[in-house]
């Protein structure tokens, strides 16, 4: 274990950007986790006399049209947005890995049927599909998670299927079968653990995308609804004030979104480079 840690430390030293991204992502998660204790103000309580104030020492990110402290709202929103993205991505990761692995292992009719469904999902512009799903199922947080998970699913299914498919006839798989392992056990105990590291890299890359997706849905009025603090809604509410020069209502949540996605993307790129140096671009 300590050897692994030392190796990770060595890799991170050689990759300052990845190390920085990892630090940033950790900081974000911690900020989100401890948001209720860090927030200087109540993120929902309005204070109309102090509405639309630019960033100052009292309000680091300014106040919005109801006088709510934007910095506190950003922190509260980080909690929600990260939770949505993390649940959606882990849901599609688990479901996609199992379905994809099973298809890649067995092949045949099930594989073809799943392949068709995946083709249909991929024939949609994915954001439009998510839009339609949230509208159909109702404006609730669970449904954003579900919609985001479903539009991520095809990538995980295809990935797991391809990775398992090329390994299904390898010696160690046959050895496991010859030892009397059931097919289920071969897939779950031998094949999946083998493809998991490569798939885990996808998680980090997908987290950023999932956050953008959830924020986009809220921005157009689907998903989380006001007054819940959420980055997409904060931008949508601030949009009305942009032409009067109140830039911080949009720029602050925009900055939060950008930094978060940046951290996850850089982290994902870095992890991928460690795993497969040929993919480096």
């Amino acid at each position: 274990m300590s050897a692994t840690l030392r190796h990770v430390g060595w890799v991170l030293r050689g990759n300052p950007v990845t190390a920085l991204a990892a630090a940033g992502a950790t900081a974000l998660v911690l900020l989100a986790a401890f948001a209720p204790w860090i927030m200087p103000y109540d993120p929902i309580a309005s204070n109309v006399p102090k509405a639309l104030q630019p960033p100052s020492w009292d309000h680091w990110a300014g106040t919005d049209q109801l006088g709510r402290d934007i910095f506190s709202r950003l922190l509260a929103a980080a909690r929600l947005d990260l939770a949505i993205a993390a649940s959606a991505v882990s849901l599609s990761f688990v479901v996609g890995a199992v379905i994809g692995a099973w298809c890649g292992y067995t092949g045949g009719a099930v594989d073809r049927a799943v392949g068709r469904v995946v083709d249909v999902l991929m024939a949609f512009p994915l954001f439009v599909l998510a839009m339609a799903m949230v509208a159909a199922l109702g404006n609730r947080v669970e449904n954003i998670i579900l919609a985001t998970a479903i539009i991520n699913l095809p990538f995980y299914i295809r990935f797991a299927r391809a990775e398992v498919n090329i390994r299904r006839d390898l010696g160690w798989v046959e050895a496991a079968r010859a030892c009397g392992d059931s097919h289920l056990s071969v897939v779950l105990r031998f094949l999946l653990p083998n493809v998991l590291p490569a798939m885990a890299v996808q998680i980090s890359l997908n987290l950023g995308w999932a956050i953008l997706n959830a924020a986009g849905l809220s921005f157009i009025g689907l998903g989380v609804t006001a007054p819940t603090p959420e980055w997409g809604i904060m931008v949508a509410e601030g949009a009305r004030f942009i032409t009067t020069g109140k830039w911080w209502l949009v720029a602050m949540p925009g900055l939060a979104l950008m930094l978060t996605v940046l951290c996850f993307n850089l982290l994902g790129d870095g992890l991928r480079d460690m795993l497969d140096p040929r993919m480096r671009t």
Partner: protein, 343 residues
């Protein structure tokens, strides 16, 4: 002749192969729309005081009193006749609405794609020529940032900088200032129409409305295009035939543009196809930010008003465009690399 016939067979084959996916899209959209909350008959009856009878009549007129499978069969039959139903919000057939609004969306998407490609290709090539240089790092930085800023934020910030602070952009709502000049109706693509009419003032007005939303979208897709160009060029530039071309004393420009770029194009084409489909989705956000009168904002308004038909029509349209784009990309492979046609 034979090449033409084989190309024709490829197109036909690809179109046939995409039919099941399109059919799946139709059925899935139909089902999704049918579980939408809210009864459109109640929503569109004359008002909250509408009587039960009126609602029933409207429901019968819309076919909502039939079981779901029958509604689906009817819907499929209607699509086969080119009838996408009627929008309850605008009162027009969905086909008419979509046809009227599609040029606005396509003009925006194509301008954004052209803008993104005209930046990404040179940047990617330059970065590949000097890997590790300052320019390479700058390109990487811009690309990495570009994908991280959601289009709805970058669009609003562009509005702030160019309209509010600098005051050089026109009012960021809609396509063109309706009072400035009469809009021609030839193709629906304003840039093309104004150019055809020789009305350059109008053309400039249309272009300046277009530039901010198009840049917003271009910024978002710049990264994958530039990165892929760089990676692909880097791989090609290291190959033997480039060394041979150089050793033969060919001009550097010729080596890069004719020999290297052409061989590097196939992966760039693939990513362009993928990027285009992302842009179809991003259209929704960009059209909302700029009140752009395209198909996406039309579908969004309908969606929020539980008006099924326009949303179904929109999704079907998007999926069809997507299929067409993939087909075009496929054919372009043949142009970029003739070996791809033989396979």
């Amino acid at each position: 002749m034979r090449a033409l016939r084989s190309a024709g067979r490829r197109v036909g084959g690809r179109l046939l192969a995409s039919l099941p996916a399109l059919f799946g899209v139709v059925v899935l959209t139909f089902l999704l729309m049918r579980v939408l909350p809210g009864d459109p008959a109640v929503f569109f009856a004359s008002g909250p005081t509408a009587g039960q009878e009126e609602i029933e009549a409207l429901r019968k007129e819309l076919g909502l009193d039939q079981p779901i499978p029958i509604q689906l069969v009817r819907y499929l039959g209607d699509i086969a006749h080119g009838n996408l139903g009627r929008s309850l919000t605008t009162g027009q057939p969905v086909m008419t609405d979509l046809r009227r609004r599609l040029p606005a969306s396509l003009e925006l998407t194509f301008s954004a794609l052209a803008l993104a490609l005209s930046l990404a290709l040179p940047l990617g090539i330059l970065a590949a020529l000097r890997p590790g240089s300052l320019l390479d790092h700058a390109v990487r930085l811009v690309c990495t940032m570009g994908v991280c800023v959601p289009t709805f934020v970058s669009g609003l910030l562009l509005v702030y900088v160019f309209y509010v602070v600098l005051g050089i952009a026109p009012d960021p709502t809609g396509r063109i200032d309706i009072f400035a000049s009469s809009r021609p109706e030839i193709t629906g693509f304003l840039l093309v129409d104004f150019a055809l009419m020789g009305d350059w003032e109008g053309w400039w007005a249309a272009a300046s409305q277009l530039i901010l939303p198009a840049s917003t979208m271009a910024l978002f897709v710049l990264a994958p295009l530039a990165r892929m160009t760089r990676a692909s060029m880097l791989a090609v530039l290291g190959s033997d035939f480039i060394r041979t071309a150089r050793s033969l004393g060919l001009a550097e420009g010729r080596v890069i543009v004719v020999y290297a770029l052409r061989n590097a194009l196939v992966p760039v084409l693939t990513i362009t196809g993928i990027v285009f489909s992302t842009m179809l989705g991003a259209n929704v956000l960009v059209e909302k930010v700029f009140s752009w009168p395209g198909v996406a904002s039309y579908a969004l308004d309908a969606l929020l008003a539980s008006d099924y038909a326009p949303v179904q029509g929109f999704v079907l349209l998007m999926a069809s465009i997507f299929v067409l784009v993939n087909l075009t990309v496929d054919l372009l492979y043949g142009l970029a690399d003739p070996r791809a046609t033989a396979a």
